[in-house]
Amino acid sequence: MFGGIDPALLIASLMVASVPILLAATGELVVEKAGVLNLGVEGMMIMGAVCGFITAVVTGSPALGFLGGAAGGAGLSLLFALLTQVMQANQVASGLALTLFGLGLSSLLGQGYVGIKPPHTGAVPFGPLADIPFFGRVIFGHDPLVYLSVLAVAAVWIFLRNARGGLILRAVGESHEAAHALGYKVRRIRVLAILFGGAMAGLGGAYISLVRVPQWTDGITAGAGWIALAIVVFASWRPWRVLLGAWLFGGITVLQLNLQAAGSGIPVEYLSMSPYLITILVLVIMSSGRGRAALNAPASLGQNFHAAR
């Protein structure tokens, strides 16, 4: 069944395929650890995709493009922060609004950019390292964002585990009342977390439109943001498991694409719906039985905080 698929190439493309969801899921992990459920990841990703694409095409620089993407995602997340932290709006509904609005606005912004090729994002020059058989291709042949996404997971892990800021962030997510009583600015911390999540989702979106596809079409993210949300649940709010989940998911995506190209006996439609079905399956496994992911969820997740005193 896997005949004709080169394992080195498969792993290499798996790492590339997982970058957008890895970035977005890492950002969302921090947001949820602060006790905020932002369902607008899809909207922020697609805003990042379009802003990044436009910036890269206009300036001719992929690096600026990624910055633009992060800014686009963070900009949209600011709206979410305003709604949920200042206006005390329902987080689920606000997240949905963010996605619906982001999808519309992105297709509006991207109108003149359909069919254009963005500037090429080059691989990090590792010199002779890239020529090592197998490992050269798997580890040393990628663009900077692949390494950045893994570094981001490590940074978030260290921050949440060992940094004072991380402890405060988790306290806000577990019990906002207690954190408030200790004198921490609950809403300010949450706004910062939301902005970080937005920037990461935007970066992930920009990666889709600048590297993964690379062009702009409406609805380019195709549910990647929702899958990122599912991966946070799958990871039961642990950074390294987010990496595992993203790679698992990237692997499925790449495998089904390869199987489509290789012309296996499985109909194309079944292959293209497989990532979504497997996400559901993974959610079921993680949420039930002893592995109950829900038990590890931050206690204040999705609840708004209004300082009564």
């Binding site: 005390q88 709006a89 609004a97 606005l105 509006l108 549910g223 719906m273 979504y276 559901i280 949420s287």
Partner: protein
Amino acid sequence: MLKLEKRPSPSVFWGRATPVLAVALTMMAGSLMFAALGKNPFEAIRTIFWDPLFGEFAWYLRGQLLVKAGPLILIAVGLSLGFRAGIWNIGAEGQYIMGAICGAAVGLAAYPTESWLIFPVMVLAGAFGGWVWAMIPAILKTRFNTNEILVSLMLVYVAETVLAMASTGFLRNPDGAGFPGSRNFSSYPAAANPELIAGTGLHWGGVAALGAVVAAYVLLQRHILGFQIKLAGQAPRAARFAGVSPKRLVVMCLGIAGALAGLAGMFEVTGPAGQISIDFNSNYGFTAIIVAFLGRLNPVGILFAGLLMALTYIGGEMASTNLGLPSAAIQAFQGMLLFFLLACDLLTNFRIVPARKEVR
């Protein structure tokens, strides 16, 4: 400085007033957006909100209003029940598609038999298709504690793939020279869903939508299930003490929403859309979320909200042909409406009072 003070109970006045305020604010923000796109904002707003009702082509466009509002209201009424109880079914789009496919499949299987029984059976099949698709997240939620938001949404993508399979494969018109898309129902009277009163745009979907509004109103005001839904949403702990079974609520709310969305899809595909095609669905399942909130999750409110949202669809199409306003602009406009609604809700639940200087 100002500060927020939580109201002991939500304000009735602001509950009614916020949708109006939100629409007004959206029009203002929308005007800015249209101006930024280089269009005359006043002309754009007039084309979207006034011309379809009172303009030159109003005789035709007024009929379109019910065509678009029907499915939106039908889906939104179902969604609102769940939203009230804190059950977030956001995969109505998928249930809508599956209802359409099931309903159409039954009708096409009977082709070319002529019997008055065919259409009612198709209606049942449509509701069944949507119900089954909604039961997947419901059962996974009750059995395995899986998040219904994510599952129902993932199933939208699966349903879209099934739709592609249906229109290019198992429901493709055998006489269609290989083009994707099923037989057209307009040429098969036994299974068609025509306009009931010429010129009004009212088809069976519109009738069903009105029925759903009335039924949901009675359910919420007079039936124990409606009471339980409201209780579970406002005070989940109290609901549990009162013996409300959360699992039963999940199954009921998702089931009703799925069946109604399936019905909407079935009526759409046999009526206005005419056939199963890859893109017959017009994102009604997602727009209905906005409709549900704009109607403040209240059946009667949803009736008006659905009509207003239908107006933006029709007006948006007019604006795109007459003024060259991109159709994505109207989608962003609808999204903005939900933002303003949620923001204005602040006034319902909080009082804005001047902050006194406190000793810290």
